[in-house]
């Protein structure tokens, strides 16, 4: 079918400000949006810049604002969008070129919650044991691919870039609720700061944007309660 694609473009070396570019092309309903923009790049305009790698929703490179919602370009099909497709860079992070944004602030927020396993006891010769139930508690938050779709869909983050954002909280949850980990208190402490957890206004955009179906708002609420009852 014939589709109409509008892309918000910006080349810092040539353009004073971002502008909308429109393209008409043939596509199949089963094409991914990534196939569409690849086609544009390969056949129409080589200067179009975006990130991609795995092409099946696993690497987290290509979160974009597609038809008004954050998604991975490789995980949404043309048939689910219709003939008019609008693509913008994700919001709240500085746009570097076309659909490429600066991910450093995002990763900084991630790093701030100490997203790594902490257990200073000498490890046993084999594995540390963990019951299947304990493992299940944080299963969902281990799925995160750091695509930033959530953080950049959050209305609080759009205006307040100091907010650590849902992705950081998700990754803190991953460890706070791991029965083997010993760093929960520190992490909760970080989240307890002014721009941490308490900035979340339960807007649910993050949950709806997450390509890994992580129930982010629920996760955030779990961390809020943990902080409330355990204290920091």
């Amino acid at each position: 079918m014939q589709i109409n694609v509008k892309i918000k473009r910006y080349n810092p070396e040539a353009d004073a400000r971002p502008y909308w570019a429109e393209y008409k092309l043939e596509a199949r309903g089963s094409d991914r949006v990534l196939d569409v923009i690849n086609h544009l790049k390969w056949e129409v305009d080589g200067t179009l810049a975006f990130r991609r790698s795995c092409a099946h929703g696993i690497c987290g490179s290509d979160a974009m604002l597609i038809n008004g919602v954050n998604r991975l370009a490789c995980k949404v099909l043309v048939k689910d969008l219709g003939e008019r497709i609008t693509i913008e860079p994700i919001r709240g992070l500085p746009v570097l070129k076309d659909l490429i944004v600066d991910m450093e602030p995002f990763f900084d927020a991630y790093k701030a919650v100490m997203p790594f396993f902490i257990n200073d006891d000498p490890p046993p010769p084999a594995e540390r044991y963990q019951s299947a139930e304990d493992r299940a508690i944080f299963d969902e938050t281990t799925k995160c691919i750091l695509c930033a779709a959530c953080t950049t869909s959050c209305p609080v983050f759009w205006t307040n870039g100091r907010y650590l954002g849902p992705a950081a909280i998700v990754n803190a949850h991953r460890f706070i609720f791991d029965s083997r980990d010993q760093g929960a208190a520190e992490r909760l402490g970080v989240l307890n700061q002014a721009n941490g957890l308490w900035r979340c206004r339960t807007a649910y955009n993050c949950t709806e944007a997450c390509p890994r179906d992580i129930p982010i708002t629920r996760v955030i609420e779990e961390v809020k309660r943990a902080l409330l009852w355990r204290g920091a």
Binding site: N11, P12, E13, A14, S30, R32, K41, W42, E43, D45, G46, T47, A49, F50, R51, R52, S53, C54, A55, H56, G57, I58, C59, G60, S61, K75, L77, L96, K97, D98, I100, M103, F107, K111, M114, F116, F117, I118, N119, P123, P125, A126, E127, R128, Y129, Q130, S131, A132, R135, F138, D139, T142, K143, C144, I145, L146, F175, D178, R180, D181
Partner: protein, 588 residues
């Protein structure tokens, strides 16, 4: 160069004791262990953000004989690996691997990796293709897994630890050359995507961990970024590539897309069916049926299609049947692949058959190394000082002619770790030498040729032709006629490649430029594969010649080493390290 220019040049010269190229499982493991060496500075250079590496796509599991579910031993694992590799596996490497992978898996667990658990709370394990008890008696639960995202967990866990360890990262830096002088490696030269600037990374030891090259085929499970860059760079620098003809096709890729459905699905009981609904693997591998090694299953699938028993209007695909498996097991142990089928094909695996076809998956060959991951430059195991390789890009050779499922993740952690330790040890004992003059010259030339190219050819068209013809002529079944034809095609494509150029004249995030350069790398990878395949007149593992159907141990029990030689290639050999397992016919 202006004052200012020199200054900027200084900022673009970096010096670390150990440089790791690639931030996948192998690279991050290497960085971690190198950094643990006191006083050794380490940096990782990656063309992608680390967590975007394709290790994150690995699904099924990592094989280690923990024996958590049923009795298991490293000897059994080693044997399966050797037999799976059709006896081209170096047996000393496989034996060491089977032991060390157990330690490495425990270490990953200690780093926090969230494996699934058995009812007793141990690491859960499941069956996987080619992994057996007592030297081939029946399938054994050896794959340690975390749902169907084991690779994701490994990648995340290692990246997390590298944050903890304060590893230096240069993300979105594309390595385009190695600094080689007098047969030794002194670092790499890289192009910074954000600015278009060229940086020199001076190192005492360089570890290459850049993953695979599946993008030379049309239907592949590999990411867009897997273009075999360093295999090509090493090759251009006069180093050999080992066994490139052995390229694995994974049986269960989503029809047309190539997106992988893990073998773990069959480990959980899924069955392959042809267009008539028959469980055809019973005819090809009576004992372990659907869990036979990948080369055998992919060949069986090709034969089914060729003999008219495919499914669909064009009878060109087959089916993976999960419908008899408990829906809860599917949703909990195979959630991701279930989602892939639903999203990309609109098929619900719980209720429907999933259309599949073999998909280009894994390079058994690569940059040749010793068991300690030192890169070697010839069949006499001459070591290239300061150069190490690990992961899919390397060939130690543990996978031989065909890799077993789960052995790649094992490879990453075992040899990634080794590379880190060895490189750090080497770096600690060496001092920096002066860099040769004009270290950036080759890179500048490479970039400039593409930048100023004539643009008479489109990169995407050449790449498509490469992928189509490789799929056609050099995939699961090969013949002399097809391969020779492909040699000609590649020569023509190489010629036409000289006419490529880019529309994007900018410096910042010029992804078009890099795609063009990557295509050049891919062409080299294809050249290595096709020439080696044409040369090897036998069928072994993943290399299946219809004009030479038998394995020929008298003539061909040896590794290929292929070199670039002017515009052509030169082929040399390296003996296979044998051991207690005599090559036998491979039946399952």
């Amino acid at each position: 160069m202006s004052e200012d220019g020199t200054n900027r040049l200084m900022n673009r010269a970096h010096r670390f004791d150990v440089i790791v190229v690639g931030a996948g499982g192998a690279g991050l493991m290497a960085a971690r262990y190198a950094a643990q060496h006191p006083g050794v500075s380490v940096a990782v250079i990656s063309k992608l953000y680390p967590t975007r590496s394709h290790t994150g796509a690995a699904q099924g599991g990592v094989g280690a004989a923990l024996g958590n579910v049923s009795e298991d031993h490293p000897e059994w694992h080693a044997f399966d690996t050797i037999k799976g590799g059709d006896y081209l596996t170096d047996q000393d490497v496989a034996e060491r691997f089977a032991v060390e992978v157990i330690e490495a898996v425990y270490e990953l667990e200690h780093m926090g990796l969230p494996f699934n658990r058995t009812p007793e709370g141990k690491i859960a394990q499941r069956k996987f293709g080619g992994h057996t008890r007592e030297f081939g008696k029946s399938a054994v639960e050896r794959a340690c897994y975390a749902a169907d995202r084991t690779g994701h967990m490994i990648l995340q866990t290692l990246y997390q630890q590298s944050i903890k360890d304060r590893v230096n990262f240069f993300n979105e830096f594309h390595v385009l050359d190695m600094i080689m002088e007098d047969g030794a490696c002194h670092g790499v030269v890289a192009y910074e995507l954000a600015t278009g600037e060229i940086h020199t990374f001076h190192a005492k030891a360089t570890i290459i961990a850049t993953g695979g090259n599946g993008r030379m085929f049309r239907v592949t499970s590999n990411a867009h970024a897997l273009t075999g860059d360093l295999m090509s760079i090493a090759y251009r620098r006069g180093l050999p590539i080992e066994d490139p003809e052995f390229y694995q096709f994974h049986p269960t890729g989503l029809y047309k897309l190539g997106v992988l459905l893990t073998e773990g699905a069959r480990g959980e009981g899924a069955i392959l069916r042809n267009g008539d609904g028959e469980r055809f693997m019973e005819r090809y591998a009576p004992t372990i049926k659907d869990l036979a090694p990948r080369d055998m299953v992919s060949r069986a699938m090709y034969l089914e299609v060729r003999e008219g028993r495919g499914a669909g209007p064009d009878k060109d695909y087959l089916h993976l049947d999960l419908t008899h498996i408990d829906a809860h097991i599917i949703e909990t142990r195979l959630p991701d692949i279930t989602e892939f089928a639903r999203i990309y094909l609109g098929v619900d695996p719980v209720k429907e058959l999933v259309p599949i076809q073999p998909t280009a998956h894994y390079a058994m060959g690569g940059i040749p190394t010793t068991i300690d991951t030192q890169v070697i430059s010839d069949g006499q195991n001459t070591i290239v000082p300061g150069l190490y390789a690990a992961g899919e890009v390397a060939c130690a050779s543990i996978h031989g002619a065909n890799r077993l499922g789960t052995n790649s993740l094992g490879d990453l952690i075992v040899f990634g770790r080794r590379a880190g330790i060895e490189a750090a040890k080497f770096a600690a004992s060496e001092s920096f030498t002066d860099l040769p003059a004009g270290v950036q010259d080759r890179t500048r030339e490479l970039v400039d040729t593409v930048r100023k190219g004539k643009r008479t050819e489109r990169v995407s068209h050449l790449r498509r032709e490469l992928q189509d013809t490789m799929q056609e002529h050099a995939s699961v079944f090969r013949t002399e006629a097809f391969l020779s034809r492909q040699v000609d095609i590649l020569r023509e494509l190489q010629e036409r490649y000289k006419g490529v150029g880019v529309e994007d004249e900018g410096h910042q995030f010029n992804t078009e430029l890099l795609e063009a350069i990557e295509l050049g790398f891919l062409l080299d990878n294809a050249e290595q594969l096709v020439h080696a395949a044409l040369n090897r007149t036998e069928s072994r593992g993943a290399h299946s010649r219809e004009d030479h159907k038998e394995r020929d141990d008298t003539e061909w029990l040896k590794h290929t080493l292929i070199y670039k030689d002017g515009d052509g290639v030169r082929i040399d050999y390296k003996p296979v390290t044998l051991g207690k397992y005599e090559p036998k016919p491979r039946t399952y």
